[in-house]
C-alpha cells in the first residue's frame, strides 16, 4: 500500500503498479471492505485499475489519520474472500454502420474486420472499474492483436450502446456522450437505467463476454 495526497480532501491509495488481475483483486478487496464496514468520514470511493481514491471529510480527519486507518484495514482486506465474478453476456451487432472504426482497426493490424470481431469475441473480460460516465465499465484485457490506441480527436457524440476499444481495454458507452474509443459495434441493451435496481448492468469485478447478433436481431430487440 502506497499513499499519495490527491487533494486537501482526497487520498490516493495505490495497491499495485500495473493493470492486471492481481492489482484488481487488491483494489476490489479494499473497496468491498470499506463498503461493508464503512468509515464515517469517507465521502466517496473511486476504484481504478490499481488504486482507490478515498475522498474524506477534512473536518473529521487529516491525511495522516486516513493513512493510519487504511493501513489497519490492509490486513483484513487481504483476507477478504471475494465472491466468484458474475458472468454477463452482452449481445453486440458488429457492423460498419454501428462500428465506424471497424475497418480502420482491421487495417491497422493487417487483419480482416471479421478477424477483429472474432478476436473481440474470443475471451471474457474483467470489469476493472467504472468511470467516465455512470455505468461505463473498463473491461480488459483485449487480445494484443487488436489493441489500438484512442482516436487522436474524440468524437463529439458517440451513440449509447456503442462498443469501443482503446489500448488493451474495451467498453460499452452507456449514454450518448463524447468519446475517443474506436467503435466496432453496438449493443441494444440499456447499460444504465435509473429506474432499475441495480442501475448499472455491469459492476466492478464482473466477467463480461460478448456475443454477436445480426442487424435484424438488433432491430427486433425488445425495449427495456
Amino acid at each position: 500500500m502506497e499513499f499519495r495526497a490527491a487533494s486537501d480532501q482526497a487520498m490516493l491509495v495505490y495497491l499495485g503498479e500495473e493493470i492486471g488481475l492481481e492489482s484488481h483483486r487488491r483494489v476490489f478487496q479494499l473497496l468491498r471492505l470499506l463498503q461493508e464496514e464503512p468509515l464515517a468520514w469517507v465521502r466517496n470511493l473511486q476504484p481504478a485499475y490499481s488504486s482507490l481514491l478515498v475522498t474524506f471529510d477534512p473536518c473529521a480527519v487529516d491525511h495522516q489519520e486516513v493513512e493510519a486507518t487504511l493501513r489497519r484495514y490492509e490486513e483484513s482486506a487481504e483476507k477478504m474472500t471475494l465472491p466468484p465474478p458474475r458472468v454477463l453476456e452482452i449481445p453486440v451487432c458488429y457492423s460498419d454502420e454501428f462500428g465506424p472504426d471497424l475497418e480502420e482497426v482491421a487495417a491497422a493490424h493487417n487483419i480482416s474486420p471479421s478477424r477483429v470481431i472474432e478476436l473481440h469475441l474470443s475471451r471474457s473480460y474483467r470489469a476493472y472499474f467504472l468511470g467516465f460516465a455512470p455505468g461505463f465499465a473498463y473491461l480488459g484485457d483485449l487480445a494484443a492483436e487488436i489493441a489500438t490506441p484512442r482516436l487522436t480527436t474524440p468524437r463529439k457524440k458517440v451513440a449509447a450502446g456503442s462498443v469501443g476499444i482503446a489500448g488493451t481495454q474495451t467498453a460499452v458507452y452507456p449514454f450518448a456522450t463524447p468519446g475517443g474509443w474506436r467503435l466496432i459495434g453496438r449493443t441494444p441493451l440499456a447499460m444504465f437505467r435509473k429506474e432499475r435496481e441495480p442501475m448499472g448492468l455491469i459492476a466492478v469485478g464482473d466477467e463480461v463476454r460478448f456475443r454477436t447478433i445480426t442487424r435484424e436481431e438488433f432491430a427486433a430487440w425488445p425495449p427495456q
Binding site: D8, Q46, P47, P58, T177
Partner: protein, 313 residues
C-alpha cells in the same frame, strides 16, 4: 406547491443542489452546484436548508414567471436582474407577487447566478440529489438544461419572508478569488523544477472550451511537458491535470471520475467555489499552500457557513 414558468432559459440553466457524493464505484460523479458557497447562502437567505435545490444560471440569465408568487434570493454573479422591470438587489430575499416576472441579462462579473426560492425547487431525486448531470442526462429537471415553456414546482416556504442581509464580513470572506490556492497534485514530482516554477509564475486564461466538466487553461508561453505514461486512476474535484499537449485542465463538478493524465496540483476545497465563478477569458494564477493550511481554510469556511444568525448583518 407553487410553480415557476421558464419564459427564456438563458444560456445554460440547470437545477442544482450540493450533489451526490458516494457513488464513484458506479461511475457516477457527484455533480452539484459549481458555486456551492453561493447556493448555500442563497438558500439560507430565503429560509431553506442550505443544500436545497435551486436554479444555476450560466453567463446569461433568462426570464422566469411566478404565476402564484414566491420568495426568492439571487446570489453569485451579478446578471443585472430586474423584477417586474425594477432593478433587483442581490444577496437579499424578495417577495414576488403572483404574476411577477424575473428577468436577468448578461453577466457583469462572475459566471454563475443562483435563483434560490423559498421551499426549494422540487424534482425527482436521483441517488439522493436533485442535481442535474448533463453528460448522462440524469437528475435535475428531466436530466437536462431548462427550455422555454418548462414548468418547475417549488415547495411551500418554511417561514414567512425575513428581511435579512449577509454581513459585509461574510461577503468579503467568501468572495471568489482569481488567484487559486492549490496543494501538490499526486504526480507533482513528475514535473521538472522549471515546469513547476513556470506553472506558479504563469497567468493562465480560461478557454472558451470550458464547462461543468472542466476548465481548459491557455497560455502562450508555457508548455508543460507531460513526462510519462500513467495508469488511469480516480481523479479528485479540482485536480489540475496536464494533457500531452501541455494544456492544464481543472477538473470540475461534472468531471469524469477517472483519468490518465498526470496532475500537477489540486485546487483547495475552500477555493472550489471560485472556480465556479470563472468565465471564459478570465485570467487566473495559482499559489501553492500546504495540506494543513488548506484544511484550516476549509474548516474556517465551513464554520462560517454554519454560523447561523452570525452570517447576517
Amino acid at each position: 406547491m407553487s410553480s415557476l414558468l421558464v419564459e427564456n432559459p438563458g444560456w445554460l440553466t440547470t437545477v442544482q443542489d450540493l450533489g451526490r457524493p458516494g457513488f464513484g464505484a458506479l461511475g457516477v460523479s457527484p455533480s452539484g452546484a459549481a458555486d456551492p458557497v453561493a447556493l448555500q447562502l442563497g438558500n439560507l437567505l430565503v429560509g431553506n436548508a442550505a443544500g436545497a435545490a435551486a436554479l444555476e444560471m450560466t453567463l446569461v440569465g433568462g426570464r422566469y414567471l411566478f404565476p402564484e408568487g414566491g420568495v426568492i434570493a439571487l446570489v453569485g454573479a451579478d446578471f443585472g436582474a430586474t423584477l417586474n422591470g425594477q432593478a433587483l438587489e442581490m444577496w437579499i430575499p424578495h417577495a414576488v407577487r403572483p404574476g411577477g416576472t424575473l428577468e436577468l441579462g448578461l453577466t457583469r462579473a462572475g459566471a454563475r447566478c443562483y435563483l434560490c426560492i423559498a421551499g426549494g425547487i422540487q424534482v425527482e431525486q436521483f441517488l439522493g440529489s436533485a442535481s442535474t448531470h448533463l453528460l448522462s442526462g440524469l437528475g435535475g429537471f428531466a436530466g437536462r438544461a431548462l427550455r422555454k415553456g418548462d414548468v418547475l414546482q417549488f415547495g411551500a416556504p418554511d417561514q414567512s419572508i425575513r428581511r435579512r442581509k449577509l454581513s459585509l464580513r461574510v461577503r468579503e470572506a467568501l468572495k471568489p478569488r482569481k488567484c487559486l490556492r492549490v496543494t501538490r497534485g499526486p504526480q507533482a514530482d513528475w514535473f521538472s523544477e522549471s515546469a513547476t516554477h513556470d506553472f506558479f509564475a504563469t497567468t493562465f486564461r480560461v478557454s472558451e472550451d470550458s464547462d461543468r466538466l472542466g476548465l481548459r487553461l491557455q497560455c502562450s508561453s508555457l508548455a508543460l511537458e507531460s513526462p510519462r505514461e500513467m495508469i488511469s486512476e480516480g481523479v479528485s474535484l479540482g485536480a489540475v491535470q496536464v494533457t500531452p499537449s501541455g494544456q492544464p485542465i481543472i477538473l470540475f463538478v461534472e468531471q469524469q471520475t477517472a483519468g490518465g493524465y498526470p496532475k500537477i496540483a489540486n485546487v483547495i476545497g475552500a477555493d472550489l467555489h471560485s472556480v465556479g465563478q470563472l468565465r471564459p477569458r478570465d485570467e487566473i494564477t495559482f499559489a501553492h499552500i500546504s495540506l494543513e493550511e488548506a484544511r484550516a481554510l476549509w474548516n474556517a469556511q465551513q464554520r462560517l457557513l454554519n454560523s447561523g444568525e452570525e452570517l447576517f448583518a
